[in-house]
């Protein structure tokens, strides 16, 4: 599967719809659609994994994480509904659940008696209210740009939250900041990102 940078030529808008189409095909066991999705998301997931590598998720395990997440994508693609979420958001939630799952499995001695699984609690297919749903990659691009423009300390806090998957308490511990400060930085950053969502646009 030689990577041939398939995404650069497409506008974000088409790309986002295209990714949804690919996911639907993967739901029907289309190998070439899956290969294309893999070429797109693989490097992003790996980039993400390397950023938040630590003792529990060492850098050497990054390719395994890519495999784990993409395996889940393959297994769950049938339940993807393009009217409920964009492909990007759906893959993000699959990846998040995969991370929770791997973490729990690494702490198994505490948790083996549990009857419920990650997907019972964090359901990627939840019925979200449709009015908030934004199809377009354009909005996502705006958010990403808005993120870059946040004050450094809010950006740092949200990076810990989203890239490293940390809780506020963990962030406070790692940065030496008071918990209250971490919480308010996260809230302020989110508020700024929120203001980038313009009602009525992109629905």
């Amino acid at each position: 599967m030689p990577p041939d940078s398939p995404t650069t030529a497409l506008s974000p808008l088409i790309r986002s719809d295209h990714l949804s189409q690919l996911l639907i095909k993967v739901g029907n066991h289309d190998r070439s659609a899956f290969a294309e999705l893999f070429r797109h998301y693989g490097p992003l997931i790996k980039g993400f994994a390397i950023q938040h590598a630590n003792t529990r998720f060492p850098i050497e395990g990054a390719d395994e994480l890519v495999q784990e997440v993409m395996l889940k994508v393959w297994l769950k693609a049938k339940s993807f509904e393009p009217s409920k979420a964009s492909a990007n958001t759906w893959v993000f939630t699959v990846m998040r659940n995969c991370r929770i799952d791997l973490l729990r499995r690494s702490q198994r001695r505490y948790f083996e008696s549990s009857d419920i699984e990650v997907d019972d609690i964090w359901d990627e297919n939840d019925d979200h209210s449709p009015f908030t749903f934004l199809h377009q990659g354009r909005q996502q691009q705006q958010i990403a740009q808005g993120f870059e423009q946040l004050p450094a300390e809010q950006k740092q806090a949200l990076t810990f939250v989203y890239m490293h998957g940390k809780s506020h308490a963990e962030i406070a511990e790692e940065t030496g900041l008071p918990l209250g400060t971490v919480k308010s930085r996260v809230r302020m950053g989110l508020k700024k990102l929120n203001s980038l969502f313009k009602p009525g646009e992109g629905l």
């Binding site: 490097p43 395996l71 990007n88 991370r99 419920i116 809780s167 809230r187 990102l193």
Partner: protein
């Protein structure tokens, strides 16, 4: 009408997967009732997606896809995509029968052959072991401890008898409650179905169920409560929580 929600910080920890397992269960039950928080959560997930897809890209090993494809081809039949998606993440309500009123819920939990599945969140139905026994905590309060697969919070279904009052108590750690049926009130407010209530040390209260119906709640408690009446001084040292 839901008027008490998890705060933004807790929701963002749910969205990024870092919140405690027990709290995630309570948030899940709140989400089943709360459209507002569902859409908040969705937005937080969209931020996550935006940051993931605009993040750095690192080429995967050349053989990565082939290895994965091999794994997929070797999957046993019952692990195939259909099996997983039909096993399905969460049926709206499982077949575990539970009645609407909490008194009846208790009976239903004990003898699981009644067949009137009623409005409890799916995750709660999954956690209830039909063989488990309700414990009487005080005159008006009974509880059923749940095994949730974590070791930080004692998670339990609690039922307050209609019109009944729970002894005044302070909290030695965090206490989270989601109302599942009925309603209760304390000095700080009235809590109805779906409400997510957070109490911390220093918040002394005396929850009272509404007159017309028993109040059924799902709660997660970090430390034992501290009873504030005179007898409490004798009892408090012996109170324990059993996280599971």
């Amino acid at each position: 009408m839901i008027s008490h929600h998890p705060d933004t910080n807790l929701l963002v920890e749910f969205a990024n997967g870092s919140c405690d397992w027990a709290l995630a269960i309570l948030i899940n039950t709140h989400l089943e009732h709360c459209r507002h928080c569902r859409s908040q959560l969705f937005q937080l997930e969209q931020f996550g997606a935006a940051l993931l897809t605009s993040g750095p890209q690192v080429a995967v090993e050349e053989t990565c896809f082939e290895k994965l494809w091999q794994r997929i081809e070797e999957l046993p039949v019952n692990d195939s995509a259909e099996a997983i998606s039909s096993k399905k993440l969460k049926p709206p309500f499982s077949n575990t029968p539970l009645h609407k009123s909490s008194a009846a819920a208790k009976t239903a939990v004990v003898k699981a052959d009644t067949n009137q599945p009623q409005g409890l969140p799916a995750i709660v139905q999954r956690l209830v072991n039909p063989q488990a026994r309700w414990q009487k905590i005080s005159k008006n309060l009974t509880q059923l401890r749940l095994k949730t697969g974590q070791n930080k919070y004692e998670v339990a279904l609690q039922s307050i008898k209609s019109g009944g009052q729970v002894s005044a108590h302070d909290h030695r750690g965090m206490e989270y409650t989601v109302v599942l049926q009925g309603s209760f009130s304390d000095v700080e407010g009235i809590y109805c179905v779906g409400d997510f209530v957070k109490k911390q040390p220093g918040q002394i209260h005396k929850p009272t169920a509404s007159q017309n119906e028993d109040c059924l709640c799902l709660s997660a408690v970090e430390q034992p409560v501290r009873l504030t009446h005179w007898l409490g001084r004798l009892i408090n040292p012996f109170l324990r929580v059993y996280p599971a």
